[in-house]
Amino acid sequence: MRRTSLRGDERFELFFKEHFSRVRAYVARRVSPNLVDDVTLAAFVVAWRKFDTTVEPTLAWVLRIASLELRNGARRERRLATIAPGWLEPAAGEVEVIDVEPLREAFAALAESDQEVLRLVHWDQLSRDEVAVILGVSVNAANVRYHRAKARLESRLALGEMLTNTEVHQ
């Protein structure tokens, strides 16, 4: 049945307030800052339309909706942020003594699918079950994707270090 009014919808309001911050952070990791609030609210608009017909609305469910919003936007508007260099800086006061450039380069060199599963696990802090829902794959497949992506990141890091050392010694 089509929903006609959001006002007074206490169940959805609770759902919104419980998950808003994490959905917004999820979006913020993937689009430029000026689009974060637009895309986040757009995802919740879609969620609201489907809320009554969804058996168990969860964080993973609304994140999957947000991921589809992002994908649609990227295809049509090319607005999906390839993480801008300025974004991939260490959080203040945490890792300033470590050179993050090799890691940034290794991450940027990964395929988008590898980048995404690493973001979901390490930035969005999601369980494998939740990652599987968002990616639309089985939990086992999500596990395999994650471990392969992690291995590829570490492999690229090691390769980068080896090349750097080679240059130094030449």
Binding site: R2, F16, S21, N34, A42, W48, V100
Partner: protein, 378 residues
Amino acid sequence: MSSDPMTLFAALDPAAHVPPRDSAAAWNDLLAELEVDVPRRSRRRVRSLVAASTLGLVGGAVALVAGTLTVAPLSAAAATLQHAARLDARAATLPALQPGQTLNQVESVSMACEFSSPSVGSAPALTYVSAGSVSSSTDAAGVSSVTISPSAVGTNGGHFATPGDEARWVAAGRPFIPCALGDGANQLIGNAANVNQGSSYGGFAATVSGYGGLGYTLAASTTTIENLVNRVNALPSDPAQLASMLAAGEISPDGTTTNTPHACPLAPNAPTTGCDATQQVQIVAQLLQLPDASAKLGAALYQVAATLPGSQLLGTVTTPLGVSGTAVMVPLGGTNETLELVIDPATGALLECVASAGGTPMATVSYGPLTVSGPTGS
């Protein structure tokens, strides 16, 4: 601080740089926006689901790649599309024209689009319904010129979905409206500065949220809309050739073609050649939303659409222009988008095309009765 790469990676989280926002304030924003949003999103017509179909085993667009469509029982939806293809191909047969003679066709068109721009601000997008006409002229050699003439904003029945949308549009400085295109100088109506300049419209970035079809195509191109339709006419009308070119990455969503296989236009930097099945479906969807300037192309695209898994026959509907037809919904694999085609059961003509995302209509193009005149000339 550990130097473990994954711990370090976690610390690079870009969301740490985004100022937090109070969920209660965001909730109020959502309430305020949906106060306007709810009534204008209700569909204008009532339909009933006649039959659901599953063509999943057909292999759909995958078979397109191989150029060998699997023989499988046709669903009601696929059969409807194939019937329309036959009718449309028949309609494409032009009367014999003598040198110097032309055949002229004209039909009214209604285009509804959702759009936004940086100046419009946060969601929801605005909705505008534009009225206009599509006319074509074909000569004895089969060469057509097609012109779409949208009306100026607020004229010929064109209107915003709600007064609130119009107020927000005015307050935002009258930005580009994707479905209320230009005057004779190809100047986008509504703001004298809004000249089509590729991806930038008079200083407004082309942020046309959720809008497929004309807005998307024009946003990616500097072409005039007339040239755009001529491109569509130049596409092959043979389904096998069309499928082959789609698989090889030779057809762009705006109808431009190349003669050699290359990376899919949807992922131009991909290291592989050609479009995968999902990308082909997405391009077909874009082409289907272009004006139905060529009945031959329409027939070929219907045949392609008939092979897509999961299509549904929605029954008889009446478009905003008062024309009734058979509606078929085609899901676009790998996305939450659908394409709904309303087809004249008698002629195969496309009466309406509705692109939706997540069940929400994003762009609607409706075509009125076609008037044919001619041959004219010597």
